[in-house]
């Protein structure tokens, strides 16, 4: 009697934690393997991981930096996940982030000049961030529309859009949008007006964590609500799960595909806009390299669940942030982080391996994105 009640409780707890179990074990396994690699190449894994944890969580400012790092990861991770839910694979977050950043920067520094007046923050910030969102939405929407109306596969197209974004950004930052200050020798925009800057949460020097982080957390909730509680979310998920049935049900599949990619791009654009308005106060070439690909890992690690993505993003942010201290203390190349992250992704993607190692029952449903190239 008593024991059966316990069993029931434990089972329910198990059901509650099961989705987290595999990713957790994947991380553990990856970290262990990473440690072995460090050992093999003559480093001290314990010291390394100690440095990593210290650097990520060891002090208030460390925590703050981890949050700063996590912010774009959350946005970008949500972007990729939203695409996945709609059956679309957005590898283009990179370019969408860059475009979001450029647009936000432009509105950030140029708008007062255009209007010949200063703008109050509560208008200027939304405008700048909004511009970033819009730019990202366009940059994501184009491959979306191409997929919907011509069948051009979004995987290739978003990758191409990354390169195109790169060329255009390079052109803009070397030409029209280049910081005119004669002493500026690098390809970057002028600093954005103070009225366009999102303030840090605490005004303590060295604590850079800003309201963008809070916005990222809120955005996760919004995305969750959109996907699971609204008719639009129902339509996105239906198109993702079975486009034919969606069409049969009267859903405008082409439009939903376009919209999904646009929303995905918008989230990525938001990531760029926040980096500019809350952190760098300008856009600079060479910023945001690899976020797009990390975002894929984060979306998968988070199982396309907005809340899972928050956790995954913080994990990745912490790793990237802690890496500095790890290297400072042990001189172990930062690249080990990439290896560990790749291993995590590997084990999460092929959770069968983890289930095999730890003897866990298989679950039925499986992420399926591939629709072949035709469209």
């Amino acid at each position: 009697m008593q024991s059966t009640a316990d069993k029931g409780f434990i089972r329910r707890l198990g059901q509650l934690l099961n989705p987290l179990l595999v990713p957790f074990l994947a991380i553990v396994t990856a970290v262990i393997l990473g440690g072995i690699i460090i050992k093999v190449v003559g480093g001290d894994p314990i010291a390394a991981y100690k440095g990593l944890v210290q650097g990520a969580f060891g002090s208030p400012s460390a925590l703050s930096e981890t949050a700063v790092w996590s912010t774009p990861y959350i946005f970008a991770g949500l972007a990729v996940a939203l695409g996945f839910k709609g059956g679309l694979f957005n590898i283009g977050a990179e370019g969408q982030i860059a475009f979001g950043a450029v647009a936000a920067a432009l509105i950030g520094y140029a708008l007062p000049g255009w209007l010949h007046t200063s703008i109050p923050p509560y208008i200027h910030i939304p405008l700048a961030v909004g511009a970033g969102i819009l730019a990202g939405a366009i940059w994501g929407g184009i491959p979306g529309a191409l997929k919907a109306y011509t069948g051009g596969h979004e995987v290739i197209n978003t990758i191409m859009m990354n390169y195109i974004a790169l060329n255009i950004t390079s052109y803009l930052l070397n030409g029209p949008m280049r910081d005119p200050n004669p002493l500026n020798l690098s390809a970057r925009t002028p600093e954005i007006a103070v009225s366009a800057r999102i303030p840090p949460i605490f005004d303590i020097p060295g604590m850079r964590v800003h309201w963008g982080f809070v916005l990222a957390l809120l955005m996760a909730v919004v995305v969750w609500w959109l996907l699971w509680k609204t008719t639009l979310g129902f339509e996105i998920r239906t198109v993702g799960a079975n486009p034919d049935a969606a069409k049969y049900a009267g859903i405008n599949v082409k439009w939903i595909i376009t919209l999904t990619m646009a929303l995905s791009g918008a989230l990525a654009g938001l990531a760029g806009a926040i980096e500019v308005t809350a952190l760098n106060y300008r856009h600079e070439l060479g910023f945001s390299t690899g976020y797009g690909f990390d975002a894929i890992a984060i979306a998968l690690l988070g199982k396309n669940n907005p809340y899972g993505i928050i956790l995954a993003a913080i994990l990745f942010g912490a790793m990237r942030n802690g890496a500095t201290r790890m290297q400072f203390l042990t001189q172990i190349p930062i690249d080990i982080i990439s290896v560990i992250q790749a291993l995590i992704l590997l084990f999460v993607a092929a959770d069968a391996i983890i289930r095999f190692i730890y003897r866990i029952r298989a679950r039925e449903e499986r992420v399926v994105l591939t629709r072949g190239w035709g469209g």
Binding site: S170, N174, N280
Partner: protein
């Protein structure tokens, strides 16, 4: 500008291998790329002289200026100037400040930051930590709205006249080339140093053309079509581009852009065409190209950097905010026999002229905005 000639500058022209740049290179090479080993002393102690190196986004083994800087710091350590040296590689521009801070917090006495992109974070840190000496490699600052308090007593920008180095090798190329077609393969011209190398190269060739009544076609191709992070690390592109120049009759190739340039130099050598290296004497960094490496356009960082560290230790840190490393060109090494005495003499004259300012390259500091 006020130039502080260094041994490298004055002796580089001397043929054969007297140039410290040359002789020191093999010595430093093995040590140079070693990371610090052993355990760190407590740098907060006043008597422990620690130097930290914050790289630009990239690696200390980039065979380019991140590496040269670290070599300089290492050199200071091996020469006993420094008790402990350490580097942090930046993986994202948003970490510049944090990485500098990591050293500052740990009580390092001198912090070296590499690359123009760290200019502002370095300036900010210098103001925040007045007792720490900061050396900004490639950071040519002036007093302006963003840097009102410049020059700071604890901040020096180590800068170079890359246009002069480019000018020198350009002149040499013009004098040596048989086909009077020479090429240059560079990273993106959005980076001022690269631009100065490239345009200096052309200017030097034009200078000699005027002198000798020759007409040399100088083709420069900058790698602008990829990400900032890729433009200096795309050797395949460098090789392809060099190949294309060689196909059109170029008989000297200047590889001026980190690893992208290395690709060009390698390719030229593979095709038995003369090549010119960049930044350091690449005779030691691209051994496979040695037989065809005519020279390298030098902006030797280790020497001047060590000097600066010494000055910092002996509290004679320059206060004018700028410190010019010598421009120069590397010895001809294996190709010395291709360089007639008169050409060599002309080269030494040019170096002298450039150094004392009697010869101007006429190259702007950076690419004018489009």
């Amino acid at each position: 500008g006020a130039t502080t000639p260094t041994p490298a500058a004055t002796q580089a022209p001397a043929p054969a291998t007297q140039a410290p740049a040359a002789t020191s290179a093999p010595a430093t090479q093995p040590a140079a790329t070693q990371a610090s080993s052993g355990t760190a002393p407590d740098c907060t102690q006043a008597n422990v002289f620690c130097v930290g190196d914050v790289t630009d986004v990239g690696h200390v083994d980039d065979k380019s200026f991140n590496q040269s800087t670290w070599e300089g710091v290492q050199k200071a350590k091996t020469d006993g100037v420094v008790d402990w040296a350490q580097y942090i590689e930046t993986s994202d521009s948003k970490d510049y400040a944090k990485n500098i801070d990591t050293f500052a917090q740990a009580g390092y006495k001198v912090i070296v930051t590499t690359g123009f992109n760290l200019t502002d974070p370095t300036y900010a840190a210098a103001k925040q930590y007045p007792n720490i000496m900061f050396i900004g490699v490639d950071q040519g600052l002036q007093k302006d709205a963003n840097h009102p308090d410049w020059p700071l007593p604890n901040l020096v920008g180590l800068v170079y006249h890359e246009d002069q180095s480019g000018f020198l090798v350009g002149a040499l190329a013009a004098m040596i080339s048989k086909s009077h077609k020479v090429g240059g393969v560079f990273g993106t011209d959005a980076v001022p140093a690269v631009w100065r190398y490239g345009e200096g190269y052309a200017a030097g060739a034009a200078y000699e053309d005027k002198k000798n009544g020759t007409t040399t076609t100088v083709t420069r191709v900058y790698h602008n079509d990829v990400g900032f992070d890729k433009t200096f690390t795309d050797p395949d592109w460098g090789a392809t581009t060099a190949q294309s120049m060689i196909d059109k009759g170029a008989d000297i190739i200047f590889g001026g852009g980190g690893i992208t340039g290395n690709g060009a130099v390698d390719k030229a050598a593979a095709d038995k065409v003369l090549a010119i290296g960049v930044d350091t004497d690449q005779y030691y960094t691209l051994p496979e190209a040695d037989p065809y490496l005519l020279t390298s356009a030098m902006k030797p960082i280790p020497g001047p950097l060590e000097d600066l560290i010494k000055l910092a230790k002996s509290n004679k840190f320059p206060t004018n905010g700028l410190y010019y490393g010598a421009s120069g060109y590397a010895p001809y090494h294996d190709t010395a026999n291709l360089v007639p005495a008169n050409v060599d003499a002309e080269m030494q004259a040019l170096l002298k002229g450039l150094t004392d300012g009697s010869i101007q390259t006429g190259v702007s500091a950076a690419k004018p905005a489009q």
